[in-house]
Amino acid sequence: MVDERAASFAKRSIKTTMKGAGLRLAVSMVDLTTLEGKDTPEKVRALCRKAVCPHEGGQIEPALPHVAAVCVYPSMVRTAKAAVAGSGVKVASVATAFPSGQYPLDGRLADVRQVVADGADEVDMVINRGAFLAGRYDEVAQEIREVKKACGPAHLKIILETGELETYDHIRRASDLAIEAAAVDGDLADGEVFIKTSTGKVSPAATMPVTLIMLEAIRDHYLATGVRIGMKPAGGIRTAKSALHYLMMVSETLDEHWLSPHLFRFGASSLVNDLVRQALKLSTGTYAAGYDTSVS
């Protein structure tokens, strides 16, 4: 039934004005990401410019919003921070020995403190999948608590790496565990903590059924506590159509509060340009060519 329900959102149809609103909303929710060994400061600055201004051509009225954040490796945080200064775009950084997490805890926590000190607004951590799959749930939870503390004021996104957890039961259990662990030191503010599907380095990354399971965990936590946890599917969402399907799933599984970058993000790189292209189609009436959008 999970698969069927998830598939039903992909059959929803979004037209006209609501499509335009949906595209703008989706742009505003993107964590524009570059996480490659070959990243350089110049590449990161190109990404940041794209984040601040997804489309320069002026044909789209009103102009598209900036994206929610850029997401970079720890060594790029200062560069990114400077490049987006004053724009409202946040800087997120992966930490905790991303993507494997297979380093001693001290090193992973130092990782977190460093990116926060360098100015990261948001920290994307990975959970210890080895410990989780071996059944050492307390250990996984304890590590999340320590990372949360190390974040200080920075918001935390907890990556479950669902492609490695494999089963829906595991994903639900990891979602509940992550939410409860992060919330242990008193009440969370809405959006202070997100759960996130994937690093983007493992296949499959985000899928609709997996995201649905995680949204259900978020819904149940909200109904029990009144606290709104955020959600970030990451990896594999490349088209505007697919992004709109995710938004419909959020809208029907949770409620309109989550239709906001405060509580929902897309971890993506190529998605922005497809959103721009569809927005161009809506405003100009013609299909855009590949070169009509700028690369980052």
Binding site: M1, E4, K11, S13, T17, M18, P65, H257, P261
Partner: protein, 485 residues
């Protein structure tokens, strides 16, 4: 803490009507002997769209003479059709399946306009299953010797088939495909509120060159049905519809001693144990009762939930129902369309009054959007506080109305589930495999869905225990009604 210039807020679906144009003629005649003809009764009946009460077309109303003419045409065609090799009969059926796939869009739109079901269901469920059903039985036509070991199967003869309005074309396929595969000829009477897709099927039968008279279609009301069922010239009677009418037909068939198959009503239990995957079970409840506005004979209209999880299930059901969209059936985002007729709507409303009078609590959560002014509408709803003796727990409502009841132990669940004159279907929700098989064995129902609901496949037999009828449609078992051994 404003982060971006975008505002959050309600993001609604704009209307997304299915826009492909289809042609509907001003009037449709009877389909007899391979040709469309005017009724000798001189009567025509308007078929309306239940979503806006507009007339779609005037359809011939068969009288007794017309019915007899159709039966005679079927009789004339019988030797030629029965005499064809199974291989050649199969080729006609394969070709019908192909043409249905190719004209699926048109058939789906027509089905939705005529019957009121959401386009997403006619497009994704009804019409694909229609094509699949013809494809499946096409394959049987040359293989009957394997279906009945030790016996030689021969056709029964002229089959009278009377079908309901809830799945108009699908029920036509369920009846026609196995009958033709086995070498029978057919007189089919579609329901008076939903004749249009069956007549469009007649068009396809002409396209594929099906020999005249092999299938005859006589739209009409109860008089046509009575003339068909009561005819001395038919060799077999098959009916899908209410238990009340089914019993009347059983009397008629009894007098003549002809074989009869009946697929009738139900009050199917959907049982949730406390170890069930609850979010999935809630989806199963939703699709179990609100699929096709609840106009489904096997609808999971009684939810039996173990007491320990009852509160959680009800609150999750309410939350989930907030996102159900009721409205224009042609809108691709509509979940629940129009009630099929004014008559059916009145019947449903009667039960909505009876429930609270008996002490049950009505929950009508879904759809705060406004319903259209015209047409027949009922918001999906459910009752809690229902006792096994309540009318709404015992009688088939055939609408988007659910009765939620509780139980304490598996034994009590089985007892309550079986406490009905019906026995069409049942659902079981639990993560324990052993419990599934144990409970499934004890339920008196023809179909048991485990951790799923309302699944249909031509390869899987469907039909009921007790007063839900006899005979099976689908699968190898579905051939039996159409052969003499």
């Amino acid at each position: 803490m404003t982060r971006t210039t975008e505002q959050s807020g309600k993001w609604e679906y704009a209307p997304a009507p299915e826009s492909a144009p289809i042609e509907i003629a001003d009037r449709y005649g009877l389909f007899i002997g391979g040709e469309f003809c005017d009724p000798s009764s001189g009567q025509w009946r308007s078929s309306i769209s239940p979503a806006n009460e507009q007339v779609l077309s005037d359809v011939a109303e068969a009288g007794a003479d017309d019915v007899n003419k159709a039966i005679a045409a079927a009789r004339d065609a019988l030797p030629g059709w029965a005499g064809l090799s199974g291989r050649e009969r199969g080729k006609y059926l394969f070709r019908i399946a192909r043409r249905i796939q190719e004209r699926a869009r048109e058939l789906a739109i027509l089905e939705t306009m005529d019957g009121g079901k959401p386009i997403k269901e006619s497009r994704d469920v009804d019409i694909p299953l229609v094509a699949h059903h013809f494809f499946y039985y096409a394959g049987w036509a040359d293989k009957l010797e394997y279906a009945f070991c030790g016996r030689t199967a021969s056709p029964v003869g002229v089959c009278a088939q009377i079908i309901p309005w809830n799945f108009p074309l699908l029920m036509a396929a369920w009846k026609i495909a196995p009958a033709l595969a086995c070498g029978n000829t057919v007189v089919l009477k579609p329901a008076e509120t939903t004749p249009l897709t069956a007549l469009r099927l007649a068009d396809i039968l002409q396209e594929v060159g099906l020999p005249p008279g092999v299938v005859n279609i006589v739209p009409g009301g109860p008089e046509a049905g009575a003339a068909l069922a009561g005819s001395d010239a038919i060799d077999k009677l098959a009916f899908t519809g209410s238990t009340e009418v089914g019993k009347r037909l059983a009397q008629i068939a009894a007098k003549r001693g002809i074989p009869l198959t009946l697929e009738l009503g139900g009050k199917s239990p959907n049982i949730l144990f406390d170890d069930a995957p609850i979010d999935q079970a809630v989806e199963g409840i939703i699709s179990g009762i609100y699929f096709n506005q609840g106009h489904v004979c096997c609808a999971g209209s009684r939810v039996l939930v173990q007491e320990g999880i009852a509160e959680e299930v009800v609150s999750k059901l309410e939350w989930r129902m907030k996102s159900l969209r009721v409205g224009d059936p042609l809108d691709k985002n509509t979940d629940i369309g129009a009630i099929n007729s004014a008559e059916q709507l009145a019947r449903i409303k009667h039960f909505l009054e009876v429930g609270p009078q008996e002490g049950a609590v009505l929950h009508q959560v879904a759809g705060d959007s406004e319903l259209p002014d015209r047409g027949f509408w009922c918001r999906p709803c459910f009752f809690t506080g229902v006792q096994p003796s309540h009318v709404i727990a015992r009688e088939e409502i055939f609408g988007p109305v659910l009765a939620v009841m509780t139980f304490r132990t598996p034994k009590e669940a089985v007892e309550r589930a079986n406490n009905t004159k019906y026995g069409l279907a049942a659902g079981i929700w639990t993560d324990k495999g052993a419990k599934i098989f144990n409970i499934a064995t004890k339920l008196k129902a023809g179909v048991v869905w485990c951790n799923t609901y309302n699944k249909f496949d031509p390869g899987s037999p469907f039909g009921g225990f007790k007063e839900s009828g006899f005979g099976r449609e689908g699968g190898m078992q579905g051939l039996r009604a159409y052969v003499r051994l």
